[in-house]
């Protein structure tokens, strides 16, 4: 079955340190991978996506993500975390052959402490 997993409910980092939010997926076709962020009392916002091409994709607010086909992962990264990055992050996947439905992971809360 097609699915996406975020193994960590919460990630804590100190401001200025690098951060990683993990995502793995399971699809039968070519995956199309997305990251979204949800700030408190706000709607979800698109951060970045991998469709094809370079495995490292860059997105909004200095975030980037690396597509790793052999490990079926799409981890979100940022070299230097800000307190304002604290939010709920969702990984999502579509796959070739489906109807266009976007499947979301359970979300990871990122807490950046000053």
């Amino acid at each position: 079955a097609q699915s996406v997993a975020q193994p960590e409910d919460q990630v804590n980092v100190a401001e200025g340190n690098p951060l990683t939010v993990k995502c793995t997926y399971s699809v039968s076709g070519n995956p199309y991978l997305f990251w979204y962020v949800q700030y408190p009392n706000r709607g979800l916002q698109f951060l970045l996506k991998y469709i094809t091409g370079d495995n490292l994709v860059k997105g909004s607010y200095g975030f980037e993500a690396e597509f790793n086909k052999s490990q079926t992962s799409f981890h979100l990264k940022k070299p230097s975390a800000l307190v304002s990055d604290s939010a709920l992050y969702f990984c999502a996947v579509r796959f070739s052959g489906n109807t266009g439905k976007l499947i979301f992971g359970q979300g990871t809360t990122l807490q950046v402490k000053p």
């Binding site: 199309y32 709607g43 979800l44 996506k49 796959f95 266009g100 439905k101 979300g107």
Partner: protein, 115 residues
Amino acid sequence: GAGVSQSPSNKVTEKGKDVELRCDPISGHTALYWYRQRLGQGLEFLIYFQGNSAPDKSGLPSDRFSAERTGESVSTLTIQRTQQEDSAVYLCASSLGELLTGELFFGEGSRLTVL
């Protein structure tokens, strides 16, 4: 408006009543999605429209849930005979018609509380 608009933003209802939630997508967006987000949980897919047809309604939890869309515009999600477990934030999103590669633009949601 520039973004996806949802109404009402908050709805409190009594168990057994029907509710209707509305979504106005971004103009020109052919794809429209409904998701449910229970407190502290991830996004649960409900239904997806391409134009006014629904290629995938596999996520609707029961026959109490239905949705329709007028052309490539407004969509309504109707929940009949509401139950307490229906309490959640209902999120609507729209997308340009790139079926697999287009990102979704989300509204701020309709928070439903069933007493």
